[in-house]
């Protein structure tokens, strides 16, 4: 397999769901294997890295001192680094703890918190090293992952959506939940990619895919208030799976 571009997959703090998205590409994976040499890296220590790698997919957020060192080593050995998923691109759901006292948090979860060695915050990969591409989503879409890999292989720009979940609802013909039912929905400020799944089940968008480019969060929050949604609920809605993304975090802070 000499001569093929080498792909590495790295895991930081996460649930493994985004890496599994690659495994779920059953039908697409075998043809891809002819174009790229895939090596999975569940974990490697700082001093024991091989490489370099042409493409590194990085899943998860940085939550421990060891991870903060390891991501530097990954960057050093990677030509192109792609952060995949809500954890890697925003800090993920575990960034909910960023507003809490980490010592108190560890005490609640563990009887002997002194055994833990954890950072104050859960932070995205881009807070530590330069990131070449980001694929948003909790979990990422298989289609966006494959497109990004093919784009890198062929030297074009990845074709990632810039529109909001609203666009996907329109294309599916799903009636707008906010307009027809007064349900709070993050669709207008959330990047497309999930196929507008929740609205098709009559649930407002939770923002799993994170902020779209230039989201007008203030206007949306204003509309939620007009619908009678209390400020603390608005604050929480922006602070969920991607609550550490600056646009969502700032809007959340304005409401509580």
């Amino acid at each position: 397999m000499a001569g093929l571009p080498k792909l590495a997959v790295w895991k930081f703090s996460s649930c493994d769901g985004c890496q599994l998205s690659l495994l779920h590409c059953e039908d697409e994976l075998l043809p891809l294997l002819g174009r790229i040499e895939i090596a999975y890296f569940p974990e490697a220590t700082r001093t024991e890295l091989d490489g370099p790698y042409d493409v590194s997919l990085v899943e998860g957020s940085v939550t421990t001192p060891e991870e903060a060192e390891r991501i530097e080593a990954v960057r050093d050995r990677s030509e192109v680094l792609v952060a995949i998923g809500a954890c890697a691109t925003t800090g993920g759901i575990q960034a909910l703890r960023n507003s809490a006292d980490v010592d108190e948090l560890a005490r609640v979860v563990y009887a002997h918190p002194e055994y833990l060695d954890t950072l104050e915050t859960s932070s995205p990969i881009s807070a530590h090293v330069e990131v070449d591409h980001e694929i948003q989503g909790c979990p990422i879409s298989r289609g966006q992952l494959l497109d990004t890999l093919l784009a890198i292989l062929t030297g074009r720009r990845p074709n990632l959506p810039q529109s909001s979940v609203c666009m996907e609802c329109k294309m599916l013909g799903t009636p707008c939940l906010m307009v027809t039912s007064g349900i709070g929905c993050l669709g207008p400020v959330t990047q497309a990619g999930c196929g507008a799944l929740c609205p098709s089940y009559d649930r407002g968008c939770f923002g799993c895919y994170g902020p779209k480019e230039l989201p007008n969060t203030a206007a949306l929050a204003g509309r939620w208030s007009e619908l009678g949604i209390p400020a603390d609920a608005v604050a929480r809605a922006f602070r969920t799976f991607t609550g550490n993304a600056p646009a969502f975090r700032e809007e959340s802070d304005r409401h509580g």
């Binding site: 996460s14 090596a39 999975y40 569940p42 974990e43 993920g92 575990q94 703890r97 979990p139 929740c198």
Partner: protein, 478 residues
């Protein structure tokens, strides 16, 4: 850890073909014999605290993010806990549909564990070249077997996607029921795939049984420490994954607990914290720590139950008990029990789909906060899972406690690692097969931390044997 007082350590870091945030340390004594071996989990996310102050109806969606491999299990346990807080029983069709998705989840997860993660060792041997000892090596040399594994996993995932809209973190299981009813078309599509799935697992079972005699050595040393077993059973003793009562038995079948309401699980199970792992270790409170060591998952579920409750799987269970005895103890038999259970899950799916009620359009009960507390228990692929929430009057979570399968198996996994290390590892030589066996005992339990890090390409693997001053005595890289 810094308090190493023994002379030499071997660190297996990373443990491959399970999730990344773990490693194994093997400690040697002066004579070069294995003094101890430990499995470390080094990830910390803190969900139990992060959810404080969040509305309880968000719990299924938030808690599903704990795991990308078994999100359905967390959706179910969380939704059941919120059902209890709303004081509602989901409509009958919703209960059947939740069961259906749970069974599909167990099928896909068991297929991943057996075919993708463990079978390369079984087919090629533990000393085989790691360059071919993976799923794509299987495709080249055992194509039917590999295709069966891929097809079974894909079938389970496809059912989850058909029901929930996506394979990972589906938003379909909700407090009070499920988000949408099952259409006749989807029912027929799932039912249409079942016969082939059943044949795939039967072929794997036949091959496994024919090969069993060749693994006598593994059977004899892979985690044979006697432990208790815990899991759900139906009130009349069948294997149960969604509801039922808790039963715990000793290694010889002596009943420790029976007919325990799932709400009472925290009365039976205690949690200890060890300095060397972020993973909590559960024990049975009736026996204390660490004597209360117990196992959950397929081996435990089959041992505690009187029968599977489906015809073909019951025949297989009878044969399994004829071959292994009534209460097999070796953790190597997780593989065999996993296959029998997969067959049973597929039979149960067929049974559920035949019921006329399964397509009923009433699938969700709605209510506000009617209780301050709720517990949800279900069987995840790897074992019993519990979510427990306490809420305030406004429905905001004040307290959350989770008991996960892998934590419950933690003490037994460590005992297994030590046993295998003592049998195979010698200080003066490190071999690939030796270390692979130490990892493989962990894979038997299919820890919930498993990931996709197994399938393609050569695994990075680096083990060092270090002397007292940290000097490298031996090194193995693959």
């Amino acid at each position: 850890m810094t308090n190493e007082i023994t002379t030499r350590r071997i660190v297996i870091d990373p443990v491959t073909r399970i999730e990344g945030h773990s490693k194994i340390t093997i400690t040697l004594d002066e004579a070069g014999e294995v003094a101890n071996a430990r499995f470390h989990v080094t990830q910390f996310r803190g969900f139990e605290r992060m959810v404080h102050g969040r509305p309880v109806h968000e719990m299924p969606s938030l808690m599903a993010r704990i795991c990308g491999i078994c999100p359905v299990s967390h959706l179910i346990a969380a939704s059941k806990a919120v059902d209890a807080i709303m004081a509602v029983t989901p409509p009958p069709a919703a209960l059947r549909l939740r069961r259906l998705m749970n069974l599909a989840q167990i099928v896909q997860s068991h297929a991943l564990s057996f075919f993708h993660l463990s079978s390369p060792d079984l087919l090629f041997g533990f000393d085989a070249d790691p360059a071919k000892r993976h799923l794509y090596g299987l495709l080249a040399e055992h194509p039917q077997f590999a295709r069966d594994g891929i097809a079974l996993r894909r079938f389970g995932q496809h059912v989850i996607e058909l029901l929930g809209g996506k394979r990972i973190h589906p938003a379909w299981i909700v407090p009070g029921g499920v988000a949408s009813p099952l259409t006749a078309e989807v029912r027929d599509e799932i039912a249409g795939g079942l016969p082939e799935a059943i044949e795939s697992v039967v072929r794997a079972l036949d091959w496994y049984k024919a090969s069993l005699a060749g693994w006598a050595e593994e059977e004899a040393v892979w985690g044979t420490t006697p432990t208790a077993f815990l899991g759900l059973v139906t009130p009349d003793g069948e294997v149960e994954h969604y509801d039922g009562v808790l039963r715990a038995i000793g290694p010889d079948g002596t009943v420790i607990h029976d007919e325990i309401a799932p709400d009472d699980v925290e009365r039976c199970v205690g949690e200890a914290v060890e300095p060397w792992s972020y993973l909590k270790s559960s024990y049975l409170t009736a026996l204390g720590h660490p004597e209360g060591i117990y196992r959950v998952g397929p081996l435990a579920r089959l041992n505690i139950a009187d029968r599977m409750g489906t015809p073909r799987a019951d025949e297989e269970l009878a044969e399994l008990r004829e071959r292994l005895g009534r209460y097999p103890s070796s953790s190597f038999h997780y593989h065999y029990t996993r296959l029998v259970e997969t067959l049973s899950c597929l039979e149960r799916m067929a049974h559920l789909l035949q019921h006329p009620e399964v397509t009923d359009v009433r699938v969700r009960a709605t209510a506000g906060i009617n209780r301050a507390e709720g517990v949800g228990v279900a069987e995840a692929p790897r074992g019993t899972l519990m979510h427990h929430y306490v809420v305030d009057d406004g429905g905001l979570v004040q307290h959350a406690n989770l008991i996960i399968a892998t934590g419950q198996n933690n003490l037994a996994m460590n005992a297994g690692v030590k046993q295998v290390a003592q049998r195979y590892v010698r200080a003066d030589r490190l071999t690939e097969g030796m270390l692979n066996r130490v990892e493989a005992v962990i894979r038997c339990y299919d820890p919930c931390l498993s990931c996709s890090t197994h399938a393609v390409g050569e695994m990075p693997f680096h083990v060092q044997l270090r002397g007292p001053a940290g000097e490298v005595l031996d090194e193995l890289v693959r």
